[in-house]
């Protein structure tokens, strides 16, 4: 059965890069969101079993999305993909419930490895 994958990033380029880097053969239904509000709306509709989430975004940032998921009790496995490399940012997203933190710029290999680590995708 395919997985509902939600890609959240305000940068069109960054969303395209994520789309192109998704492991081949991973059966996913993809939804895209360009800010945190759109992401929460998609999550409420069940469109994000797995979420690739940027942090620095207009309207509502990635921290806000993680808080929303927690406060509304939404079910989502979140991998944060961000250029914010402050150690405190990583600690904060993990404490807010994210499964992993992937630093930008990422590539196919680092994305696949991170998804595998979180147990949401298997390379075999």
């Amino acid at each position: 059965m395919s997985v509902a994958l939600l890609i959240v990033d305000d940068s069109g380029f960054s969303r395209k890069a994520m789309l192109k880097s998704i492991p081949e053969g991973w059966d996913v239904d993809i939804t895209q969101a360009t800010n945190g509000e759109e992401a929460l709306a998609a999550l409420r509709k069940g469109l994000g079993e797995v979420v690739l989430l940027d942090l620095t975004m207009p309207v509502l940032d990635g921290f806000g999305v993680l808080e929303g998921i927690r406060d509304e009790g939404l079910k989502a496995k979140v991998v944060v993909v961000s250029a914010d490399i402050q150690p405190k940012a990583k600690l904060r997203v993990i404490s807010l419930g994210a499964l992993a933190f992937l630093q930008k710029p990422f590539n196919k290999e680092s994305l696949a490895a991170t998804l595998a680590e979180c147990g949401v995708y298997s390379e075999d």
């Binding site: 380029f13 207009p58 402050q86 710029p105």
Partner: protein, 205 residues
């Protein structure tokens, strides 16, 4: 010869590449000031060298007439001049975070502005150059002036350039906001290098 400015797609890549550079700048700034820095999306736009002073003045309109400016030249595959412009509030806030008081020598404030500029300009441009595979070196930053109107700070450039990249960065600290404008003047050859690098970067995905 007039060069074509970057197209929409190239600008979108540039915006993200600068965003990644600013993530590194934020982390360095957080370390220097020992605070958590909330990053915001940097705003990026191009103007021609001829009217860049007017454009910067418009950008900061209504935010007072007292600014500090630091200049830093860069050369190699990308070549140009960068200016970092700080408002009076930003300067005071930085000084406060570093524990400086009004009684301290002006030297301390100058040194802080030079350090912060080095971090911001360095992280932004090194971040960009590294991602697009271009070589870049820096001259040491120099203070152009403190407590001056914008035009006094910006007219003192080394030479005329072809294009100007305006980057508006806001770092939101727990203790309050600190914003800064980066103004990057570049040669025509550098813009072509930038363009080819951005296209290669995009194709790497």
């Amino acid at each position: 010869m007039k060069i074509e400015p970057l197209n929409e797609e190239e600008n979108e890549i540039l915006q993200e590449v600068i965003n990644i550079g600013m993530g590194q700048a934020g982390a360095s700034l957080a370390k220097l000031l020992d605070v958590f820095v909330n990053l915001s999306v940097p705003r990026v736009s191009w103007v021609s060298d001829v009217d860049f002073v007017d454009q910067v003045e418009k950008l900061v309109e209504g935010h007072g007439n007292s600014w500090a400016g630091v200049r830093q030249a860069f050369y190699n595959q990308l070549e140009g001049e960068a200016f970092a412009i700080y408002g009076a509030n930003g300067c005071q806030q930085l000084a406060g975070l570093m524990g400086y008081t009004d009684d301290d020598e002006d030297d301390a404030e100058e040194e802080l502005l030079l350090d912060v500029t080095n971090i911001l300009v360095g992280a932004c441009l090194v971040g960009v150059a590294k991602q697009i595979g271009k070589k870049l070196d820096f001259a040491a930053p120099t203070l152009v002036g403190i407590g001056k109107p914008i035009e006094d700070l910006l007219y003192r450039r080394e030479r005329e350039w072809d294009q100007c990249l305006l980057i508006e960065v806001n770092f939101c600290l727990e203790e309050g906001d600190f914003s800064c404008h980066l103004v990057m003047l570049m040669s025509e050859a550098s813009i072509e290098q930038l363009r080819s690098g951005l296209i290669e970067f995009m194709e790497s995905y």
